[in-house]
């Protein structure tokens, strides 16, 4: 609004917005908090809320079972419970992260996620940049139809092609002396996820490229620049921001993809989505370890996502909302 909002009005909106935002963020915050608890603290009733780091503050470690003050609630901050030792405190520990890493070979899943998301993004960009470039700068009558058709492949439900893909994946290719299957291999998932995200990548690049003024290219052509020079010296510098945003979004989408990664992996190529899904049948106490594993799986992408939020609109609405 052009007119200055009254401070009271502003304060009210601020309070409401922050309350709602914190509510929405709460499950994530709670997961991160729980990942630093012992399994016993993780299921303490009432919940323990305030981490104590190290033993330097002189307070004895608090056992969750002893915390029995019903007055504590989710809003009880440090002040609320400071006077009741054993109230909302727990001793922060990195034990869960160590255990998850050691017991489940977490690094391998992480590496698979990086390879699959990174590989599919790289491959997708390599295929999509020339296509988007030509559609943006050398449009023909059919450009629009091609773009819409590409979009339509994105709308194909995965179950519509599930078995054929599974069949291709489990086909025994004669290789050397034995046979070789594509299922549960990283390259296969790289290709599948690349194909899934390719329409979005082409579209997003196309909307960025279209904003590059054509006159600049014409001027370069007039000056006798070859097609290669045009691409390398004129187009690329102007296209880099758009490509970077596209890479970011594609990486995020591939990282979080959870239909093909669950159905086409078993052990060797399983990424973090499958690793987390293995926690769906709990054994004993596992809240803290689940939290640690979850935190590790989402933290990198959460940070990337914060950078990509503006581009998300463009990428996921196919340029239809600006």
């Amino acid at each position: 609004m052009a007119r200055a909002a009254s401070p009271a009005r502003r304060a009210a909106f601020t309070a409401l917005a922050w309350t709602l935002a914190l509510l929405i963020f709460f499950p994530i915050a709670w997961t991160i908090l729980t990942s630093f608890k012992t399994e016993r603290d993780a299921i303490a009733n009432p919940p323990v809320l305030v981490p104590l780091v190290g033993g330097a503050d002189g307070r004895p470690p608090i056992l969750a079972g002893e915390a029995d003050d019903p007055a504590e609630d989710a809003t009880g901050g440090p002040e609320a419970g400071a006077r009741s030792p054993g109230g909302p405190f727990f001793r922060a520990t990195l034990e869960n992260y160590r255990v998850v890493q050691e017991r489940s070979d977490y690094m391998r899943f992480l590496w698979n996620s990086v390879v699959i998301a990174g590989g599919s993004t790289l491959l997708g960009i390599l295929v999509a940049v020339p296509a988007a470039w030509s559609m943006a700068f050398v449009p023909s009558r059919r450009t629009k139809d091609v773009l819409l058709w590409m979009l339509s492949t994105k709308m194909l439900p995965a179950v519509g092609v599930l078995y054929p893909i599974y069949l291709i994946a489990t086909f025994r290719l004669p290789l050397g002396g034995g046979t070789f299957q594509l299922i549960d291999t990283k390259p296969f998932l790289v290709v599948i996820l690349m194909l899934i995200n390719l329409p979005i990548i082409v579209w997003m690049l196309y909307t960025y490229f279209r904003e590059i003024p054509g006159e600049i290219l014409e001027a370069a052509r007039m000056d006798g620049a070859s097609l290669r020079a045009e691409i390398v010296h004129v187009l690329t510098p102007m296209a880099v921001p758009g490509i970077a945003s596209t890479v970011l979004l594609s990486f995020i989408l591939a990282w979080n993809e959870a239909f093909w990664t669950l159905n086409l992996t078993a052990v060797d190529a399983a990424p973090l989505t499958a690793f987390i899904a293995s926690y769906s049948s709990p054994e004993g106490l596992f809240f803290a370890k689940l939290s640690a594993a979850s935190t590790m799986a989402i933290a990198p992408i959460l940070v990337l996502g914060w950078f990509a939020q503006k581009q998300l609109v463009r990428g996921l609405t196919f340029g239809a909302v600006k």
């Binding site: 409401l16 929405i24 296509a131 050398v138 819409l148 239909f259 596992f286 939290s291």
Partner: protein
């Protein structure tokens, strides 16, 4: 104007993307179509290349089919209603002058970046668990009985989880649209004494109509294929089996490929109805 040489170059540059997507779409889809007319059960070594419309008939008349269609519609409809209504309200709120808007935005958008298996498991265990979940802690605090969400109300629980994941998307897109509102028009209406509700009804809502449509269409496409959230919470039991999940069970769990493929083709047809509307809007926008 582009020269003939650059035209040829342009075609060549498009070729890989077009070929790949054509292969990706056509080959498996034709295979699914083919299997859907065959009696194909690999575990029993049954392969009868032509079974007519038997698979379609059996899929549609099976006792699981209509409940799965119903579950799909309820899931998609409820999530759409929740995310669009709350998304509009949140977008309007975030458009107000508030302190720390950037930080609020980041908090609100975050659930969208959480991978589906994580959000489903975190909600199932940390939030909705009848003994140790946060909801049951709050219930006890308020003197109420903890509620076993995923057993007592499995579908609403999944609706809740999926809505949490998609509310950020709706909010972000609607916020982008709200921010392009004509402020002067809005102020003029305010000067003329139009009450807030009327301003919302006659100025804001029409302006958002297009963005709302886009949100609905895109979310529908993604929601029709919801998988991981069901896979790790209920495994499709307790009336949470959607059409997608039913096909998954027929094809991969029961390995009745013919039957499942018929279901897959039906799912494709269902998605196409939505897709056609979305493509029209996007296509119109391309001309502008």
């Amino acid at each position: 104007m582009a020269t003939k040489a650059s035209r040829t170059a342009a075609r060549l540059m498009m070729a890989p993307a077009v070929t790949l997507l054509l292969g990706w779409m056509l080959v498996p889809l034709v295979m699914t179509l083919y299997f859907s007319f065959a009696d194909y059960r690999p575990l029993r070594n049954v392969f009868e290349p032509w079974a007519g419309f038997g698979n379609y008939e059996r899929f549609v008349t099976s006792s699981a089919f209509w409940p799965s269609v119903w579950t799909t519609l309820v899931l998609v409809g409820a999530v759409l209603a929740i995310t669009v209504v709350l998304g509009i309200l949140l977008a309007m709120l975030l458009d107000q002058p508030i302190w720390g808007r950037g930080a609020v935005r980041i908090l609100v958008i975050s659930p969208f970046f959480v991978m589906p298996t994580v959000s489903a498991l975190v909600w199932k265990n940390m939030m909705l668990d009848p003994v140790n979940g946060v909801f049951s802690h709050v219930a006890r605090l308020l003197g109420a009985q903890p509620y076993d969400f995923l057993t007592q109300a499995p579908l609403p629980s999944i609706v809740l989880i999926v809505s949490w994941q998609w509310l950020p998307f709706a909010t972000l897109i609607l916020l982008t649209a709200v921010q392009s509102l004509d402020r002067e028009q809005l102020e003029a209406a305010e000067m003329d004494g139009a009450p807030p509700l009327a301003r919302f009804r006659y100025l804001v809502l029409p302006h958002l109509a297009r963005a709302i449509t886009i949100v609905i269409l895109i979310q529908t496409i993604f929601l029709l294929s919801i998988f991981a959230e069901i896979f790790v919470t209920t495994g499709g039991s307790f009336g949470t089996r959607t059409l997608t999940y039913l096909v998954f069970q027929r094809v991969l769990e029961a390995q009745n490929v013919g039957l499942g493929s018929a279901g897959g083709i039906l799912a494709v047809l269902l998605a196409n109805v939505v897709a056609i509307f979305l493509m029209r809007i996007v296509g119109r926008n391309l001309d502008a």
